[in-house]
């Protein structure tokens, strides 16, 4: 009997293996293609531009078009390519270490972005918490209100803050009218204005992941904590906050990463004395027309940001593990 069963089994396997070989190959190809597309996208729009920038960062400035050498060209052939390869150097990176300006700009960018991120978290957390605890039928409206500012151009919204913050602007007019201050507050062209601008502009990026984390939290956990003798504030720190950590990390990364390289807000609201790497990069590129150095600045900025991005991804993976 076992012999019979065994031979029947092998027959089945043979049939299964032989028949759909072609179709299996095809379906394998399709499923592979599905994976290839996003990688292709990353390759074309991320890796290739990065290689170009990296290559420029190893080049030398020249009064030419494009303003650097060597400029590879197909006409030179392979031998030309190799001879020009010798002209490349890491001088630009060394230059970044020689001039304190760059180091200060990096540090200052990270500090400004860090403070802004913290402020955004402090403003965003109560909002997200309030939204998550709001009646369920009200939540879509609240969510809509958070996203609503995106319907107006980012640039215009930052310009609008000039009108609010300038010495004769709306805020000062209002505060003077109600008699709180006599002389206008000098907010424009200071770091305070940058903080306001970044907190305002990036607030939705903080609120949305926080809201997502808080909304899916089971409220009976808080009740359980209280039932076990934990007063509400302590229950928040022991239960709610730790459970919203993936949202906190996601929100902070979504604010911190773009804020480090932010150019528009410091340029429009921060004035001339503000030192941020985005502005430095702009100056190198457009004012000095030093493409190689600005490319080096960009490469270092990217490397700096890879660390928080990796923290972000690890946190995401952990959150997924936990919610399973």
């Amino acid at each position: 009997m076992s012999n019979l069963a065994a031979s029947a089994d092998t027959m089945n396997i043979d049939a299964a293996a032989a028949r759909p070989l072609a179709s299996r190959f095809l379906s394998g190809l399709v499923s592979r293609l599905v994976i290839i597309v996003p990688y292709l996208w990353l390759l074309v729009f991320f890796l290739v531009p990065f290689i170009i920038v990296f290559k420029i960062s190893l080049s030398q400035t020249a009064i030419a078009m494009p303003p650097y050498v060597p400029a590879f060209s197909l006409e030179d052939g392979i031998s030309g390519f190799f001879s020009q390869l010798g002209q490349m150097s890491i001088d630009n990176y060394l230059w970044l270490t020689e001039d304190a300006l760059y180091f200060n700009a990096y540090v200052s960018s990270i500090v400004i972005a860090g403070i802004s991120t913290l402020l955004t978290l402090l403003v965003g957390y109560p909002i997200a918490y309030g939204m998550a605890r709001a009646p369920a039928n009200l939540r879509p409206t609240l969510l809509m209100l958070v996203i609503l500012p995106f319907w107006t151009s980012f640039l215009i919204r930052v310009y609008a803050w000039i009108g609010i913050l300038k010495p004769e602007g709306l805020l000062n007019q209002f505060l003077q009218a109600i008699g709180i201050i006599d002389d206008p507050l000098l907010i424009m062209n200071t770091n305070t204005a940058i903080y306001i601008g970044i907190v305002y502009s990036y607030l939705p990026f903080m609120i949305l992941p926080l809201y997502a984390a808080l909304e899916k939290m089971d409220y009976s956990l808080i009740e359980a904590a209280q039932d076990l003798g934990c007063p509400p504030i302590s229950a928040f720190w022991k239960i709610t906050f730790p459970l919203s950590l993936p949202g906190v990390i996601a929100g902070c990364m979504l604010v911190f990463i773009p804020a480090v390289g932010e150019f528009v807000i410091p340029d429009l609201l921060g004035g001339s004395q503000t030192l941020m790497i985005g502005k430095t990069l702009w100056n190198e590129f457009f004012n000095n027309r030093d493409w190689p150095v600005s490319s080096a600045v960009a490469v270092i900025l990217l490397l700096l940001l890879i660390v928080p991005i990796m923290i972000f991804q690890a946190a995401q993976a952990r959150a997924q593990e936990q919610s399973r």
Partner: protein
């Protein structure tokens, strides 16, 4: 009640007029907007009692539990715990602990940390916490899982962690909200007995909310049957089953046959009830029924005898036809359609292997029962 044989019971403080109840609901009403979840309800629960709140969903049983835990305040009325009015006392200051239906285990903490959470809140020294946690883990047989996170446990294990966490603080009262609801049948039956043992060994007062009558019957000393925010009956499982006080209770707990009719005559304790079709039933224990009352006679299927011939000397006998039957091995369930059209359920224990008087579909059959086999319900 006269017809009830005495059930031996050593623990029955509710029959002792000098005993003071431990938990008292006094005219408690709870409204959510227009909806009245609990309506002018009064209830007493005694120390060390295993008390079950039984009812369909939406009957207000969970609201009662939540008010006792302090998550909701009564709209009016008082809740007393050990003589103290609980109004205004927040959940974290009440000497009660709750086991949640969803278990509500903290997902970011290990089993150990979950169980020790309440003790840590109390400010218990660390060594003592460790000792108590170990004790609790042993009690629920989860020693080797102490370092796991809740998502690494099975449903039954989670339930036991939740239980251990809620008894770790040695609360005066343990509230259990559908404690076995999420478990499969076999595990549920095992756990019922574990819960009873636990209650015995720790000497706690348990208040359990359930919609499962079997669960309530198995575990509880007394059951309160709730409907639309009101108490229908509070009694021991046997009383609830054998002496329900209303049509609702009789129908809610177990299977029952109801004969609607009018009391034709009353003589001491026994009454004659005339049904709509003219059939007469003689009942020995009439309770409050007076002549002329519209009443229902309720009788459980296992109290009815089914036979192929009219039994001799039976106080009550009615003729009909076997309409349906199910042989379950240990017993046989008959559905007999009486000549007036009513279908009566009867179950017969197959106590001998001989299959005498085997009734089959469409056979003529008689049902019979003694005068004290059922109860007369006026409500």
């Amino acid at each position: 009640m006269k017809s009830l044989g005495s059930i031996r019971r050593e623990f029955a403080p509710w029959n002792d007029p000098s005993a003071t109840p431990y938990i008292v609901f006094e005219n408690v009403t709870k409204r959510f907007g227009d909806f009245t979840a609990v309506n002018n309800l009064s209830l007493s629960i005694y120390e060390k009692e295993f008390f079950a709140l039984l009812g369909a969903s939406g009957c207000g049983k969970s609201t009662l539990l939540r008010m006792l835990a302090g998550f909701d305040e009564p709209t009016s009325g008082r809740i007393l715990l050990d003589g103290q009015d609980m109004r205004g006392i927040p959940p974290y200051r009440r000497p009660v602990n709750m086991m949640f239906q969803s278990y509500a285990l903290f997902p970011h903490m290990t089993v150990e940390a979950n169980i020790g959470f309440g003790l840590k809140q109390e400010g218990m020294p660390r060594a003592q916490i460790e000792q108590r946690v170990a004790e609790m883990l042993k009690l629920v047989k989860l020693e080797q899982f102490s370092k796991r996170k809740p998502h690494q446990l099975s449903g039954g294990q989670r339930q036991r962690v939740a239980l251990a966490r809620s008894v770790a603080k040695r609360p005066k009262v343990l509230l259990l909200d559908e404690p076995l609801g999420a478990l499969d049948k076999k595990l549920r039956e095992e756990t019922q007995f574990e819960l009873m043992d636990l209650q015995q060994s720790l000497g706690l007062t348990f208040v359990v909310v359930t919609h499962d009558q079997e669960e309530a019957m198995t575990m509880a000393d007394r059951i309160a049957i709730l409907d639309k925010g009101e108490v229908m009956q509070v009694a021991t499982p046997a009383e609830v089953y054998e002496a329900p006080i209303s049509r609702f209770v009789a129908g809610f707990v177990g299977n029952v046959n109801m004969f609607e009719g009018t009391v034709a005559a009353r003589d001491d304790d026994s009454v004659r009830i005339t049904g709509a079709s003219g059939a007469e039933i003689v009942v020995g224990n009439a309770g409050e029924a007076a002549a002329g009352n519209a009443v229902a006679f309720a009788i459980r299927p296992e109290k009815i005898r089914v036979s192929s011939r009219r039994p001799e000397g039976a106080a009550n006998a009615m003729e009909g036809e076997v309409y349906d039957l199910a042989y379950l091995g240990d017993m046989t369930i008959y559905h007999v359609r009486l000549d007036d059209g009513q279908v009566v359920k009867a179950s017969a224990l197959n106590s001998s292997r001989a299959v005498e008087e085997a009734l089959s579909w469409n056979d003529r059959a008689w049902i019979s029962f003694p005068p004290d086999a059922g109860v007369v319900l006026t409500r």
